[in-house]
């Protein structure tokens, strides 16, 4: 689409339903009450000059350019801060107004460099535009005091801050406050000396700034501008696409000059991010042309040999022949595939189709296994559908928010910003997390209750909350009567009412004060709209599914379902983990959630796909590796996943992979799993493909190709070639055709097509005849599938118990700047914020072991050990330690055990009994591993780095 700036209506939309009618320059216009005159004028094509106003921020009224005249009112009110009123007669263009605007602009330009032609914002600067619009022809003030000598701050890797061009409109400060909620910017000083100041006049990089880019987007001049724009010049076209990082699913305008991506700017019409972004989506897309990216296929006979670059045909043919050989020698079920939660719906669908129809077995699984599979199991059991019940907008109508097992300011930053907005409006927050995560207390936000529970005791805490709700008569009787299964509720109510589930009885186990549990329960039950948001801190436990059931119980018992502001909301980790599940990536079910044992379903797919479908469930990832060790599983096609780094019990994964004869990795870089691969097929980034992602609120959004794939093929094309090579015909020309097939077999996708996605911008499934435009909030007037079901949630302690040998409990998580295994973000400037994983340890535990902040420490569990540097902090409770797994060097998952969720085998990352002690450097396992991966990355003819 040809480049054009987004229309800026100047002020946010009014919320009122009442309408008012007025005339502007003689033309009638009707707008909601409370709409500014500026916005009303813009809606009928009259753009009143403005500089401090922009429709993502509240009206501020400081530049004074937008003055208008109103009949019957003295003076020249600012149109941005004057709401439209019934019968007003407004004039936006009079001689007096022209004179005043010229006077204001003359003052602006008297303190502004006149270097437009060489300025980074040349052609894309509101000051430049408005100077033209008001017809400024001279500045008569001569050389007076000015800010032209201000030093430029280039400390942030992605954008420059040049105060000499600042017009002190405060849009940056307000964006940081109102949109992002970090309050990292202020105006220092007063009067003429006023100056934008990060924190205490520090360089942006070392200030409180989290580099979300909102200020750069809000800045009307070149003061805050992307370095890439300064380098390349302004963009000339754009495509709207969806970010490939977390499950929020922010949509962006990818702005390009020719084929070169210049910048990613959040798309205002994006319904998930509403025009906001975080450092990853906004800036960390440079990995697409990072030097370590592999662009041509490679094969090797043994994983000890160096790689050999080959052409696509040879690589595909070699892979196909190996797969056929192995199936011939070891049976049809000796090979399988893993779909990626970071590839598109279309690509995931194709991989599981290749396995079921091409390989003829059901050995396909997805990394969703390792994050939210308990969500699917739990919500399907309770509500009949297994996805989050609300849309992200819904948080703005919540009065009480429970956040359990999630750290949104790091893991889902744009959602966190909207949550903080709501909290600043007065909503109450309850945080249930072993760590004092940032949102418990950060500027202008403070949790009403923080329940710092012992890791692994979620079920006990939530059952205690349920105990309070039932025994203190806080149940929403009407909701339960009308919409839930009565018998099951009565059974459940009796169960939780048992004194052994009381907060007092469980306090010694959970370490959470009973009174806090009671207060939190009362607030959630009676504090207005109650919404529960949860993440991997709920699912990645041995009772992950049970915890999801407990959450569902609370929502049903208090009637917090079926309207805006409430609900059970899984914060899914990756950009398409929801989609990869919807596409049927699990071994036991076909796409459309039909169990493989269902003869009718298999008949339908045989007719559609022209191939017999195995009637038995396939192997899950942990069981594929187990079978490989047992010599029964020989080949694996892995698309866009690095199971060696992301899956638990790394030694077991390594052993499993090493036992296979043909491991095929399709990814952007030689990841850790590729150390054990025989074929490497270079993948394409989200910038180089068409497709769709489905975010955590079930919103299907388009990914649009911005540039030709550097590796030559989009990922779905690779899978298609592989299918053809093993003799299974696939002939798609464009992903839209794949989506049409998905819609045909997936009831909740029935109404989805690329045309409709382009028309509506995005669709939240289910989208079918009953809901042609999708379903923002589910279960509106009743549960989709019959009644809500209550399930008893008995606490069962995990086998991972702290004991004399392993006295501390390790839990894991994420940090803002890095993403998942860091494959992408480590290859961008983001590493300057977080270049190594650190072990957070409480001062008491550190002191006991003679550990100082920054020391090298060894973390050992019954599964293995690794070393990393300590970070002494009281953010974690005594007895609890914490780390992230973004950097392969630390191999955090060597330590995590093979414990997992009873229902879905989702690994228990969040609880591992460990011992921590001083260490003098990497363990020998790490050294052997580093040596091994260095040797494994050798490519014939390419100098090793």
């Amino acid at each position: 689409m040809a480049w054009r700036g987004e229309i800026d209506l100047g002020t946010p939309p009014a919320v009122s339903q009442a309408m008012v009618t007025l005339t502007i320059d003689g033309r009638r216009v009707t707008v909601p009450e409370g709409t500014s005159l500026m916005r009303a004028a813009a809606l009928i094509g009259t753009s009143i000059p403005k500089l401090c106003a922009t429709d993502s921020l509240e009206a501020f009224g400081s530049c004074r350019l937008c003055l208008v005249e109103i009949d019957g009112r003295a003076g020249y009110p600012a149109s941005c801060t004057t709401p439209a009123a019934q019968g007003m007669a407004v004039r936006t263009q009079t001689d007096r107004l022209k004179q005043l605007r010229k006077g204001v602009m003359e003052l602006y330009i008297s303190d502004h460099p006149l270097d437009c032609l060489t300025c980074a914002a040349n052609g894309d600067c509101e000051l430049q535009d408005q100077a033209g619009a008001v017809g400024l022809r001279a500045v008569r003030y001569g050389d007076g005091a000015n800010h032209l000598d201000q030093a430029k701050d280039s400390s942030n890797p992605y954008f420059d801050f040049d105060p000499s061009k600042c017009i002190v409109c405060s849009r940056c400060v307000r964006a940081c406050d109102e949109v992002q909620g970090t309050f990292a910017l202020t105006i220092e000083g007063m009067g003429f000396a006023s100056k934008v100041s990060p924190s205490q006049s520090e360089p942006f990089f070392s200030s409180e700034c989290v580099s979300c880019g909102a200020c750069v987007q809000a800045c009307p001049t070149a003061t805050l501008i992307e370095k890439k724009v300064a380098e390349t010049g302004t963009p000339d076209r754009f495509e709207v696409t969806t970010c490939a990082y977390c499950g929020v699913g922010c949509t962006f305008r990818a702005e390009m000059r020719g084929e070169e991506l210049v910048r990613m700017v959040p798309w205002k019409e994006g319904k998930a991010n509403r025009g906001h972004s975080c450092v990853k989506g906004r800036f960390a897309w440079g990995y697409a042309n990072h030097r370590e990216r592999i662009l041509s296929p490679m094969i090797r006979a043994s994983i000890d040999d160096p790689w050999r670059e080959v052409g696509w045909d040879e690589a595909i043919a070699h892979t196909a022949s190996e797969f056929r050989r192995i199936q011939a020698e070891h049976g049809k079920r000796a090979i399988g595939g893993i779909t990626s939660s970071r590839c598109t719906n279309e690509e995931t669908f194709l991989v599981q189709k290749l396995v079921r129809a091409g390989f003829g077995n059901n050995n396909v699984d997805t990394c969703a296994r390792v994050c939210h599979s308990p969500t699917g199991y739990g919500l399907k059991t309770a509500f009949g559908t297994s996805a989050g019940t609300q849309d992200f907008d819904s948080v703005m109508a919540a009065d009480t928010i429970i956040l359990i097992g999630a750290n949104p300011t790091d893991g889902h930053p744009v959602f966190a910003s909207r949550l903080k907005q709501r909290l600043r409006q007065g909503a109450k927050l309850i945080v249930i997390d072993p760590r004092r995560i940032d949102i418990v207390r950060s500027p202008h936000v403070e949790a009403a209750h923080h329940l710092p529970l012992r890791p692994g005791t979620n079920v006990a805490v939530l059952t205690a909350v349920a105990h309070v709700i039932v025994t203190e008569g806080l149940v929403d009787e009407d909701f339960v009567r009308d919409r839930c299964d009565r018998a099951e509720f009565d059974d459940w109510a009796a169960f939780v009412a048992d004194p052994r589930h009381s907060p007092e009885a469980t306090e010694s186990l959970t370490t959470v004060p009973a009174e806090s549990v009671r207060a939190a329960a009362r607030l959630y039950a009676k504090g207005g709209n109650g919404a529960i948001y949860y993440g991997l801190g709920v699912t990645e436990h041995s009772q992950g599914s049970t915890t999801v059931l407990a959450i569902a119980n609370l929502a049903m018992a208090t009637g917090n379902l079926g309207r805006a502001g409430v609900g059970v909301n899984p914060l899914r980790g990756q950009n398409n983990v929801q989609g990869s599940c919807d596409m049927g990536s699990f071994p036991h079910e076909l796409s459309g959630y039909r169990h493989v044992s269902d003869d009718a379903a298999r008949a339908m797919f045989r007719a559609l796909w022209g191939a017999d479908i195995d009637h038995e469930p396939g192997l899950r990832i942990p069981n594929m590796l187990g079978a490989a060790i047992d010599g029964e599983f020989k080949a694996l096609y892995i698309q866009g996943e690095d199971i060696l780094q992301s899956d638990p019990d790394t030694r077991h994964v390594a052993a499993g992979l090493a036992a296979m004869e043909c491991v095929v990795v399709q990814d952007l870089f030689l990841n850790e799993t590729a150390n054990y691969a025989h074929v490497f097929l270079p993948g394409s980034t989200f910038l180089e493909k068409n497709g769709t992602f489905t975010n955590a609120e079930r919103r299907i959004q388009r990914v649009r190709k911005v540039m030709r794939p550097l590796n030559g093929l989009e990922d779905w094309e690779i899978t298609q070639k592989l299918a053809q090579a093993i003799g299974y015909a696939m002939a798609y020309d464009h992903p839209s055709q794949i989506m049409d097939e998905i819609a045909a077999v997936t009831p909740t996708f029935a109404g989805v097509s690329y045309d409709r996605l382009d028309a509506l911008g995005s669709i939240q499934w289910p989208c079918n005849d009953a809901a042609p435009e999708g379903t923002p909030v589910m279960h509106l007037d009743g549960f989709v599938r019959g009644k809500g079901k209550f399930v008893r949630t008995e606490y069962v302690a995990t086998e991972e118990r702290a004991g004399p040998r392993f006295p501390l409990l390790l839990t894991t998580g994420r940090i803002l700047s890095q993403y998942n295994v860091g494959a992408q973000t480590r290859r961008t400037e983001n590493s300057r914020w977080h270049d190594e994983d650190r072990l957070e340890i409480h001062p008491h535990d550190a002191e006991q072991r003679g550990i100082l902040d920054g020391d090298w420490v060894k973390v050992a569990s019954r599964a293995g050990d690794t070393t990393l540097r300590a970070l002494v902090t009281d953010r974690v409770a005594p007895g609890v330690v914490y780390t992230t797994f973004h950097h392969p060097a630390t191999q955090a998952n060597v330590v995590t055990t093979d414990n997992s969720d009873w229902a879905t085998n989702c690994p228990e990352y969040k609880v591992t009994a460990v011992q921590v002690g001083r260490s003098n450097g990497p363990t020998d396992w790490q050294e052997r591993y580093d040596e091994r991966s260095r040797r494994s990355r050798r490519i014939e003819g390419v100098a090793a780095e």
Binding site: A368, K380, H588, P622, P747
Partner: protein, 97 residues
Amino acid sequence: MSATTDKLVRMVNQIATEFEGQQPGNAVAATWDHLWHFWDPRMRDRIVTHLDTGGEGLSATSRAAIARLGSRAEPQSQTRATEFGVDADGNTESDAG
């Protein structure tokens, strides 16, 4: 006992314990239903063989459930998580987990 079998024993005991908590008196049927719907044939065969060769380490509920698994009959669904059929109005459950 191979590592894999040991892992399967721990898995089935974990499932059995959970259903003893969730559905007292119906844990055997629920465990059987779960294994039938979610385990791969090799895993099912391996655990049945293990039961036939003494079933070391298996809990009582696990033993009863695996016994039924061996009978190759198809279990009645004991929880909505194992209901995969299409209901009257063409809607299927979505199991995005």
